[in-house]
Symmetry: C2
């Protein structure tokens, strides 16, 4: 079989996993690709003890790999968006196909990279960039190619899902679980990217682009993290039949597309509510298939390598075909992507969970329900619960029917202005995913 | 764009859905395929009111479609294994690529069909044959191509899953729920294919072949249905933390492969235990990715059409490429499939749930536990429950650790021979799916 020459840049978690997998399952992988897949060069500044590179040519200069005339496919696994961008563009300039696991790079520079790759008749594959080992890019782009996508909702960050699962299961505080997650290696020393939803937003931008054939655009993404989430809200949500999940949601509406990342109440009867721990899952609603869900590990050395290798196999198998027969990076060619307005969070319509502290005396509830009625917001459920360490105040929890967020905000401002209500109104968006 | 000409044979549930979808999403589908997809001819003996064929040439003779020189892709949606086989072979003889949703045809005649298609450099695609709208074939064959598959376990028959969900949720009898399923159109008038596991076995054979690169072989598949399942077992299982699911299981072991369909206790903590109603799900464990699960509708007009159209798009996009660049039907070429021994059910190793009726008097449990110990079977849990309408006898429920089924059978025979035990011992296999 003709050999295909692969150059791996980066020997971190994913790079070492990829080298290990290509070596361990070498025969199987070559039979799937219908050609021998050879690691021709590795670019890495230091060795990784988790990976045996004996017999493999390792160079410190990753750009030497990108320019190596023997190499067909450059695998970018260094992370970041500056050097990685230069590396990928250099590889394309030198006529190499590219495989990458880099969500930030694709979300922020994907349009430039894909346009250039198309102009050079080269493939850029990025299955590992979203949801680690889950073949969600392929599923969405090829498996559901006959469908118009209505919406998708994903647990696409394992760190936040682990933290939320622990908060729900054991009533623990966010900060407390975060420390454990850091100790276990599920969260970085600086957890901002994960817990503030930035990592999820990168992945969601890619999924939204694939789902709706729109250009990648990170500018208008509403992103809220889980740092302010309180155990009592997780607990009240549970009492009302909901789990709290940190979801990336993309939806096509008559006015445009919603692309947003935030904590979300989902009914416990919905399968995605049962996805716990560091696992990922993406639920997709489409006009023909209805609802599907793809579940699995969203990170880690071997799972992410699984997707990197699947991409290498695809590229190796098809790289000599006519470029018109390739599946374009975003499902359709860059020139056929159509920009759609991304709705402001004020303009989205969804249900809401609200919690606030109100004086426990006659007439208070009636003033609140009047405010809601004035804003044309229907109340699906309202409960009162005693607050520990206070006798005067109770927690009021409200579930609304579907309403525009701007209307909710007005109601919230009026409720917060009531003399009988203490502090601010907490609210969390609710999605029924039906 | 160059047009690709499609001929649809059969206008039943899936055929009408496919025609509808190709028409409704025509522009989107053509952009995904990078060519115009035209329904050039339909072969059907009668119209389907769910489908508008105005302006489309419909002929009664499906073989005319298979031989039509204008047609590139013949879509076989007539079902069955006799005429369907002739139709597919005729289409291949006439140089057409084939898309089919026919699980029985692929399971029983797939080897002949794929070998002939390969010899003629033609594609046979069958995503819709397993798990309806879930892109499981693509996921397994391409999305996890770098992995060695350890095992897979699937809820791949919606009828049985609906019945089991109702039995579990409401404590109803099998026969009672079956009647409702028939009234709702979830089960056929003759439900044998579904409730005896034959339909699931067909799908499992295809999945096992893809997972382990073994030839399709329906001969040695152990198949047990759900007709003998009793509500009390579903209830006891629940009490012990398990759901009862009708699973298709394929596993590679040191001695060969297990391929079996039967009711199975799975821990409620496992995501597949939460898949209820007519939905399907396939869980896959593989060496790199770990565990993934694909979930969605396993039947129905539009969902199945979703997979048929995805196949049409794939074939249309790639049919002019070199055949070596195609993904072979079973992941590797027919000649590279390797036969592995299919283990007899007696030789599989798993845990078991047992239930029997024993006299409620001292010494009975000790004779039972001695029998289990003699057979080297460890007991994980043993509970006794009063039986309604009897005071002398109690139900004894045992959960065993992993043991060989032949050892279990010996123990069962000895327990049944005890004078203190009434009737037979019911047992259900338990899988922890970890």
């Amino acid at each position: 079989m003709r050999p295909v020459h692969v150059g791996i840049c980066g020997l971190g978690t994913v790079g070492s996993g990829t080298v290990n997998l290509l070596q361990r399952n070498s025969a199987l992988i070559s039979s799937r690709a219908n050609c021998d897949i050879t690691i021709t060069q590795i670019g890495a500044r230091r060795d990784n003890p988790n990976c045996d590179t004996a017999g493999l040519p390792v160079v410190a200069d990753i750009f030497a790999v990108a320019k190596n005339p023997e190499i067909d496919i450059v695998v970018e696994l260094i992370g970041g968006t500056t050097v990685a961008r230069d590396l990928v563009m250099t590889a394309l300039e030198h006529g190499k196909h590219v495989v990458t696991a880099n969500k930030a790079l694709i979300a922020e520079h994907g349009m430039e990279i894909f346009a250039y790759a198309e102009s050079r008749n080269l493939i850029v594959a990025f299955e590992a960039a979203v949801a680690g080992g889950i073949p969600i890019i392929k599923g969405l782009r090829e498996g559901l190619s006959g469908n118009r996508i209505n919406w998708l909702a994903g647990i696409i960050n394992g760190t936040t899902n682990f933290i939320l699962s622990e908060m729900a299961g054991k009533g623990r505080e966010f900060s407390d679980v975060l420390k454990e997650a850091q100790a276990k290696g599920y969260a970085e020393a600086d957890p901002t990217f994960d817990v503030e939803g930035i990592d999820a937003a990168h992945k969601l931008v890619i999924l939204a682009s694939l789902a709706f054939a729109i250009p990648l655009d990170t500018i208008n993404i509403f992103t809220d993290g889980i740092t302010k989430l309180q155990p009592q809200d997780v607990s009240y949500a549970s009492e009302l039949g909901y789990a709290v999940k940190h979801l990336g949601i993309a939806r096509q509406t008559a006015e445009g597309v919603e692309v947003r990342v935030h904590p979300t109440l989902v009914p416990k009867s919905c399968l995605i509510a049962d996805v716990d721990g560091v696992l990922n899952a993406v639920m997709i609603s489409a006009d023909a298939v209805g609802k599907t869900m793809f579940y699995g590990p969203g990170a880690g050395s071997a799972p992410t390598a699984s997707s990197v290798v699947a991409d290498i196999v695809d590229v190796a198998r098809t790289m000599n075909n006519a470029p018109e027969s390739w599946v374009p990076a975003l499902g359709v060619n860059v020139n056929n992507l159509k920009k759609l307005p991304v709705l402001d969070i004020q303009d989205i319509e969804t249900s809401f969970y609200m919690r606030f502290s109100a004086l426990d005396k006659p007439g208070v509830l009636s003033s609140i329900t009047k405010i809601m009625a004035d804003a044309s917001i229907s109340i699906e459920a309202i409960i009162q619960r005693e607050q520990p360490a206070t006798e005067e105040y109770v927690n009021v929890i409200i579930l609304t029917s579907v309403t525009r967020e701007s209307a909710l905000d007005e109601a919230v401002a009026r409720i917060e202005a009531l003399a009988t209500v203490r502090d601010s109104v907490n609210f969390i968006r609710v999605e029924h995913l039906d």
